[in-house]
Structure formats: structure tokens, C-alpha cells
Point group: C2
Chain length 358, copies 2
């Protein structure tokens, strides 16, 4: 990987953009500072995976690094934050990246205000409403970031079809996830579709496409990038699902076993339900999705996931999918094949996105 | 007004667009049909005010009616539906246009599914989550409708700045509204800013700007349209606030006095609080914003609004603002001044948007 500072460039693009938005919103009212501040915190940190794939998709298609690809790629981080903020409202998650989730942050703000004035409305309702609006702002801003990035109209028109696709796909994937959680059943087919649309295409394939389209990559290149991006995106999300159950809270920024308390119907869970013994299944159904699970109960669920070989099956899937991705990358004819910079970077990203430590 | 069928054209554009989205989403899963169906119902009906202003802004700037202005204008209806769906979640409103609000519709769907399978998650949570996602989809689709409408890249680039502005303004206005409701106090300055950003610029001024920009209207024309659009938008929302308290449920599609139960801190309410007697104010504070208000209590609140002259003040404001708008329209140099079609249509729209009957 060459020494381009993707994380730094993305951070500068986001900060500069939010500076401009803050000025614009100040004309509407000082209250809006609270929204911009929340957006700043929500867009700082994170692994910048989606912008990185966008950047390397651009380079793989022969894009000129002097063009404003990092500001354009930052739109994917803004889109991601929008999805996270709304997701946390829907899941009633309290914590995101080790900090209070956006709706909890606004709830605390309202509680503080009420305490000061001695009256005022329901802080929980305020928190949810304000977080819905923050997610809306980030969704709008994602689009504005892309089309004000500085690319010409022709490049933007090429990228737009993929940007439209990814926004709809991730929202549709979220809906499938909601249906899966609400069903109270595990269904491998549905879990696989959630994996694909809520996360895989959105994290890897579409960011690559958007970058490649901005560079003017042709259909063959776009298709090669899918060969790498789709299996890698799935491997990434399978890893994320394992970390949601077994990950170290210090690294994931989420409480231990949070996905078990939320009752997330992932591929891991669907596999366990399909392969658990009758006794394991009874125990599993008794505990899974209970918000008040204690450490022992979490440990018990983890053991069922191990003993039913669901963990092993996921690890094998991760290995297979990552290998498929790397094979496809090897075979792909990239536009910068003279020095293989993009290929090497995409190779490293595949390892980073699927490794056992976040 | 010439005999262009704006409502019909908007309906066709929305239906055709949702047909294409339905096909696209079917590839992700049959579950998504529920979202498209909800979007179809949410985008049918309504007065099509925003697309109408967009259309006549386009014509006022000399735009060729053979261009795809109705599909482009339909993006504003889609944006409006996004705002309504999220607004109903934030306000916990049960009814919209005489039908269950989107979150209630999804809640009922989940209840039905749970009854059938005998198990399943919380219908209320599912309803809220699904409605947040429906609003997200409509927000994304608003943008896609505009940039796939068929206008060339230069026209779209001109319109985009106004489209960016209106999306951010309406979201910022919603946040001001949330802050106003949560404050538990009435504040005329805040109520006026909510009036302006949550509704006025978004309903009239920006749709005119987007239409004019698509037609290539110059800065002077854009500014003339603001002279008409800003006061008219305010008059429109003041009328809407009065209808929210005094309107006939059969016409408003909302239960009688719904805004009083929700505790909406409108200009009408701020005026009443500023001018009520001490006895009226005590009574007002005891009742306003209580979700369980009965008919007699609603009637009592209405009398306080009448007796404090808040209603009269709002009626006078509506008259003044509408006159200001019509004066500005008279003075404006429109691009189709040969036959005055746009001027007449905008004149009629001003009357329709501010009259006592919806």
C-alpha cells in the first residue's frame, strides 16, 4: 500500500464539510449547533473501511489521485453514520464506539435542560426524535458531500447509479434485519440476505464501484471488483457477527455479548439453531434476546454457539470467502497494473477487514 | 391557470418511479413489497402543493413545459412524505390523511404476523423501526427522482444547491420544533423560526427556486420568487396551524384539536400565551399538551385562543402576508410575461394555499 493518508484525508473532508454546514445552520438558529456537534462526534473515529474501499476502487480503475477522491469517498462515511444512528434508535442500543448512542446523547441534553428550567418534555422522546433527525441530516449530507466533492458532472453521473443503489440496499437490508428480529425465528435464508444487503454490498462492493465509476472504470472492471467485493463483504460481516458475541468490549466499543441481548438473528445464530441438540435449543430459546442477560447466561449462550459448531462453521465461511475474494483480486485486470499498488492495498484491506482483532 | 394536469402528472411520475423501485427491491426480498406499498399509499393524495409551486416556478422562469418538469417536481412530494413519516413517529401521531400513520400501519402488520405464527417481537418497536426506514427510503428516492428526471447535468447542477438547501432546512426546522415542544414554554421567536424553516421555505420558496433553477432562471428572478414565496409560505403555515386547532377532521384528515393534544408550540399558541389573562393562562397551562383532552377541554382551549385574540392576530397575519406575496408577484418580472400564465397560476395558488377550507 502506498503511503496515502486515507484516514487523515477523510477526517479533513468531514471536518471541513461540517464547518460549512455549521455556518449554514447558524443562520437558522443556535440550537442547531447541537446537531452539528453530534454529527462531528459520530463521524470521528471508526476504521474508515468504506472510504478506503472507495479510494482503492478509484485507484484500481486508474483514477488520478490528484482528483478529489477523498472528499467523494467521505460521503460513504457520512452514509454509514446515518445508518448507525438510525440503527441504534431501532435497536435501542445505548452505546456506540464506547460513547453514548446519539439518541442517548440527546436524551441527556434534554434532561440537563429540563433540570435547569424546572420544566420540559419527555427526554426519551426528545432523544429519539433528535436522533432520527441527525440520521436524516447525515443521509442528506452524504449526497451533498458526493456531488460537491469537485468531480465533474460526467463522473458524478456515472457514480450516482451506484450511490443510489447502495443507499437503497442498506435501507432494504435494515428492513430485512428488522423483519428477522421481529419474527422470533431463525431463518438461514433471511440471515444470509441480511448479511448481504445490510452489510456486505454496502461495506465493500458498492464503495469499490463508486470509486471505480468516478475514475471511469468500464463494466469489466466493475464486475471484477464485485468478484472481490461480494465475498469479502460477507466475510467481513461474519467476522463482525462473531465479534458481536465474542469480541472484547474494549476493542468493539460495545458491551460484551450485546448482540445476544438484542437477539440479533445473524448467520451465526441461524447455524446454531439449525444444528443445536434439543436440550441446547431449549436453553438457547429461553435466553436468546433477553435484554437482562447476566454474564453467566451470556457465557452459556456462547458455549451453545461453540458446541453446536456454529462458531467453527462461521470461521470456515470467513476463510473460504476471504480466499475467494483474494483469488478474484489475483485474476482481476486492474488499470494500474504497472506497479500493482491498488492490488496490494486491496489485498491488505481484505486481511484487515476479516482478521480476528478489530 | 392553463389546463396542465399537475396532480395527474405527479401521480404518474410517482407511480412509475415506485414501479421501478419495486422491481429493484424484489431482487433483495419479497418482504420489501411492504415498504413499497406503504410508500405508494403515503404518496397518494395530498394537495401536491410543493410540486405545483415547483412547476410554476419553472414556467415563471420560461421553462419549456415539454421538458420533464413534473417528474422532477415529484421529488418534492417524495421529500414531503419522508418528512411526514418521520414527523408522525416523533409526534407519536396515529393518523395521517385519515389513514393510520406509517408506524401504526407497520405495527398492525407485525401484530398480524405474530398472531399467525404465535410468536414474534414487539409490534410497536417494529412499527417505529419500519417507519424510520420508510422515511429514509423516501428521502433517498426524492434525490433519485430529481436526478433521474431527465434534465441535463447543467440544469440539475443548478437545481441541486436549492434541493440541498431545502432538505437541510426542513430537517433543521423539525429540530427547532422538537426543541420548542420539549422546552415546555412558548417563545414567539422560536415559533416564528419553526414556521419559517419547518414549513414556509420548504412549501413555497424552495420549490419555486428548484423549478426556476431547472429552467435556468437568473438571480433576479430567483429573488423575485422569494419575495412572493416567503410571505406566502408563512401565511400557508399560519392557516395550517389554525386548521390544526379549529379544522374539520373530515377535511384535515386528523382528529379534531390534535395539535392541542400534541402540545404544538405554534405562533398561534405563542401569541395566546403572550396575551392571555392570568386566569386564562393558568387554565391553558393545565390543559395544553395533554394527550387525553376530551371535547369539552378542547373547546375550552379554543375559547382561550379566541378570547386572547390569538386567532384574530393569526388571521390578520395571514391576510397581510398573502397581500405581501401577491404584491411581490405583481411586481415580479417573470419570463413568460407575454401571456401571464404563470403569474395567474401563482395568484390562484396563493389563494388556494391560504383559504379557510383546505
Amino acid at each position: 500500500m502506498d503511503d496515502v493518508d486515507i484516514a487523515g484525508g477523510i477526517q479533513r473532508a468531514l471536518s471541513g464539510f461540517l464547518d460549512r454546514q455549521e455556518q449554514r445552520l447558524a443562520a437558522i438558529g443556535p440550537e442547531l449547533t447541537e446537531q452539528v456537534r453530534a454529527a462531528r462526534d459520530a463521524t470521528s473515529g471508526g476504521k474508515r473501511l468504506r472510504p478506503s474501499f472507495c479510494y482503492w476502487g478509484f485507484r484500481a480503475a486508474g483514477g488520478d489521485p490528484a482528483l478529489p477522491i477523498l472528499p467523494a469517498a467521505a460521503s460513504l462515511e457520512m452514509l454509514h453514520v446515518s445508518a448507525l444512528v438510525h440503527d441504534d434508535v431501532m435497536d435501542s442500543s445505548d452505546v456506540r464506539r464506547g460513547q453514548p448512542a446519539a439518541h442517548r446523547r440527546f436524551e441527556a441534553l434534554q434532561r440537563e435542560r429540563s433540570d435547569k428550567t424546572g420544566h420540559g418534555g419527555d427526554p426519551v422522546g426528545f432523544g429519539v426524535g433528535a436522533a432520527i433527525l441527525l440520521g436524516d441530516l447525515c443521509l442528506i449530507w452524504a449526497d451533498e458531500l458526493l456531488h460537491t466533492s469537485g468531480f465533474d458532472a460526467a463522473a458524478l453521473a456515472r457514480a450516482e447509479q451506484y450511490f443510489d443503489a447502495v443507499r437503497v440496499e442498506v435501507t432494504a437490508g435494515q428492513y430485512l434485519d428488522l423483519v428477522a428480529q421481529a419474527s422470533g425465528e431463525s431463518d438461514m435464508d433471511l440471515a444470509l440476505r441480511v448479511l448481504r444487503y445490510k452489510s456486505a454490498t454496502y461495506t465493500v462492493e458498492r464503495p469499490l464501484h463508486i470509486g471505480a465509476a468516478l475514475a471511469g472504470g468500464d463494466d469489466r472492471l466493475i464486475s471484477s471488483l464485485s468478484g472481490y467485493g461480494v465475498p469479502l463483504g460477507e466475510a467481513f460481516q461474519l467476522r463482525d457477527d462473531l465479534l458481536g458475541v465474542f469480541g472484547d468490549p474494549a476493542l468493539t466499543g460495545k458491551p460484551a455479548g450485546d448482540d445476544l441481548r438484542e437477539g440479533k438473528r445473524t448467520v451465526l445464530i441461524a447455524y446454531a439453531v439449525d444444528h443445536a441438540s434439543e436440550i441446547q435449543l431449549t436453553e438457547f430459546n429461553r435466553l436468546f434476546g433477553r435484554p437482562d442477560l447476566d454474564d453467566d447466561e451470556i457465557q452459556l449462550l456462547r458455549e451453545i454457539l461453540q458446541d453446536s459448531r456454529a462458531v467453527q462453521a462461521c470461521e470456515e465461511l470467513i476463510t473460504d470467502r476471504t480466499e475467494d475474494a483474494l483469488d478474484a483480486l489475483d485474476r482481476a485486470e486492474l488499470a494500474d497494473d504497472t506497479d500493482d499498488t491498488a492490488r496490494k492495498a486491496l489485498n491488505d484491506l481484505a486481511i484487515a477487514a476479516t482478521s480476528r482483532v478489530v
